[in-house]
């Protein structure tokens, strides 16, 4: 995560102003460390230039693992280890295996994807959030600019933030 210590924060309270502001700030050559919001703002990944999440790929691979595991388990138990005729079905009753296979696909896919999400986003029960502003979880959007990662002077960064519609511009040192 954030490597820097000294931040300038632009605080916004409207998501549409925020989106325009991000475009202006990035257009002025200022690097944004991260934007923090109380709720998901649509279109923010595009203006920040974030790539699409690869989590769907993880979900697919976990799902595939579930399908294979379920089929291996059922065929191994019902066909190989102890073949038995139940209800007139043959030793390999594939249609009867569909429900369990489907359920295990969904189970592994969901758990695998959520697990990947938690690891990728560094979310854990003992995790300590280092909030730059306490109002982020209430009603304010915060654009964080890392001073050490920028070549633009502090005064210019503040000017750009103010002009882009920030309600407040603050300095923050992260411990």
């Amino acid at each position: 995560m954030a490597s820097g210590k000294n931040f300038v924060l632009g605080i916004y309270d409207d998501e549409d102003v925020l989106l325009e502001a991000i475009k202006k700030i990035r257009g002025a050559g200022v690097k944004i460390q991260e934007v923090y919001s109380p709720f998901p703002v649509h279109g923010i990944d595009d203006v920040l230039g974030y790539k699409r999440s690869r989590l769907p790929i993880a979900a697919f691979l976990f799902g595939l693992t579930g399908t294979c595991l379920a089929l291996t388990m059922q065929i191994g138990m019902m066909t190989v280890d102890w073949p038995m005729i139940v209800g007139g079905k043959d030793f390999l009753p594939l249609p009867a295996f569909i429900p369990v296979t489907f359920e295990m696909t969904v189970l592994l896919s969901a758990f695998g994807m959520v697990g990947t999400f938690l690891v990728a986003s560094n979310l854990k029960p003992w995790g300590k959030p280092n909030l730059l502003d306490i109002r982020i979880t209430d009603d304010k959007h915060v654009v964080a600019v890392d001073l050490d990662a920028n070549h633009v002077s502090e005064a210019d960064i503040k000017k750009v933030l103010k002009e882009s519609g920030a309600q407040e511009v603050n300095n923050k040192t992260r411990g």
Binding site: E15, D16, V35, Y36, S37, P38, F39, P40, V41, H42, G43, I44, D45, L48, Y50, R52, S53, L55, P56, A59, M73, Q74, M77, M78, D81, W82, V86, G87, P93, A96, F97, P99, V100, F102, E103, M104, V106, L107, S109, A110, F111, M113, V114, F117, L118, A120, S121, L123, K124, W126, G127, K128, P129, N130, L131, I134, I136, T137, D138, D139
Partner: protein, 455 residues
């Protein structure tokens, strides 16, 4: 950015701001429990105590304590199981299917509906587990584990085993989906907490959430895919529950219409339960600006649709029984409607098919009192539907000498009360300690869908 047509009614009324959402929802968690809440918890504990005594009798003495006999081997327990699972379906429908359809009105009701789903599924699971008689051995009977009987495995050709997988997957995926949505909201409570205990507890529950745009972006794609997974999952669960009956050769059960008919019935009863719970929650917690008459009306419309599907299914079943030309099948249905259980059939028809049609009147579907009463009527009807399907199909065997009636005992009723006690207890704890409305989602529509007071 959102574009909302001007003709759409506001989803949040009275000009609430984003900050108001935080205050309105969090203060319910922060304030001292009210007298009404304490009284309700005491009532739930009372139900649990009575139920626990019945459970003790059941587990100590065995399944013979229920009113089952050799003809009617399934009755209240499986009725309750199907009823509770069905109720659970509305939560997933609201959070997953309405998300895929981009229905924004789901946002203020999905949290409570999903909580209801989770508790209802726990209640449902109790019944097959207790029906095992010796539930502590159930692991070997229900799960594919190596056991002491040699390498004899569970039977993957049996719908009862499919149920084990379906219900446990449904429960765990719903739990994960629900918790994912709770993480950002727990962070809101964490950042407002003033005392050490709640700071620590909500801090741990919120997993160190900081609201970064990158995390939100991942969160949204996870939520979308989970919704995509949960949609076929919820449909599969009640389909598989219906197969417990449909794959048998009992007249009255052996019908191909069961899967869609059960799914529609599940959504029907689930929405009714959501309405019963939310009408009370909204009143007690003063959430009228978030759960508006508009929300209640939309849910009532879903009740008319699913109720009518259920009605058509009842008639189709009857027609097909006649059309099949199978005397046993025809008898099963004639006996259902005119036999000794005619009163159960009549209650089912009245509560499920006739009374929801009242919602065609706008006055009735936008009225809180009538909605509340009808939502309870629907759930009584849906309980009778399962009772009718299960008991009337079994009680008149192929052999008239084994015909019998089913009479519930105190233990039958007591175990049902236990599940009610648990449901109420869990929902009350949820309502007090968890944010009852998904704050992050509601905040995201404040700008587009909130009623402007004076602009």
């Amino acid at each position: 950015m959102h574009a909302t047509a001007a003709v759409r009614e506001a989803l949040v009324t009275n000009g609430k701001t984003v900050h108001d959402v935080t205050v309105d929802i969090c203060s319910r968690v922060e304030e001292k429990p009210s007298k009404l809440w304490l009284a309700s918890i005491a009532f739930a504990l009372g139900l649990l105590t009575v139920g626990a005594y019945a459970l003790y009798l059941l587990l100590w003495n065995g399944i013979g304590m229920w009113g089952l006999n050799k003809t009617v081997g399934w009755a209240w327990d499986i009725t309750n199981f199907v009823w509770w699972v069905g109720i659970g379906h509305a939560g997933t429908l609201i959070s997953a299917i309405l998300l895929l359809f981009r229905q924004k009105w789901r946002m203020s009701i999905n949290r409570a509906a999903e909580a209801m789903t989770i508790f209802a599924v726990i209640c449902a699971a109790m019944f097959p587990i207790f029906h095992m008689g010796r539930p502590w051995l159930g692991f070997y009977w229900a799960l594919p584990l190596p056991n002491t009987f040699g390498s004899l495995w569970v039977n993957f050709s049996s719908p009862l085993l499919w149920d084990v997988f379906a219900i446990s997957t449904y429960f765990s995926v719903s739990l994960v989906f629900w918790y994912l949505g709770l993480i950002p909201d727990f962070a809101v409570i964490r950042d407002r907490a003033t005392n050490k205990v709640s700071k620590a507890v909500y801090g741990a529950l919120s997993f160190g959430w900081d609201g970064a745009a990158r995390t939100w972006s991942r969160y949204e794609s996870v939520a979308l895919i989970l919704a995509g997974l949960a949609t076929p999952l919820v449909l599969s669960v009640h389909t598989i529950v219906s197969m417990d009956f449909a794959t048998s050769v009992i007249p009255g059960w052996h019908t191909t219409i069961f899967p869609p008919y059960f799914v529609a019935g599940a959504i029907f009863s689930g929405f009714a339960m959501v309405l019963t719970l939310l009408i009370v929650t909204r009143k007690v917690y003063k959430l009228e600006d978030y759960i508006t008459i508009n929300h209640i009306e939309l849910m009532n419309i879903i009740i008319i649709i699913t109720g009518s599907i259920v009605g058509i299914a009842y008639i189709t079943e009857f027609f097909i029984a006649w059309y099949s030309g199978v005397p046993a099948e025809q008898y099963a249905f004639i006996n259902r409607a005119t036999g000794p259980y005619w009163w159960a059939y009549a209650s089912m028809m009245t509560c499920n098919v006739i009374s929801p049609q009242l919602f065609w009147f706008k006055k009735i579907r936008t009225n809180i009192a009538s909605t509340f009463v009808l939502s309870i009527v629907v759930n009584i009807g849906m309980w009778f539907e399962r009772f009718v399907i299960i008991v009337t199909s079994l009680h008149r065997d192929y052999l008239p000498s084994s015909w019998a009636m089913f009479y519930p005992t105190f233990v039958d009723v007591g175990v049902y009360l236990f599940s009610f006690g648990f449901f109420l207890f869990a929902f009350l704890l949820f309502a007090k300690f968890f944010p009852v409305i998904n704050m992050a989602e509601v905040k995201s529509i404040i700008k587009s869908s909130s009623e402007k007071v004076s602009d």
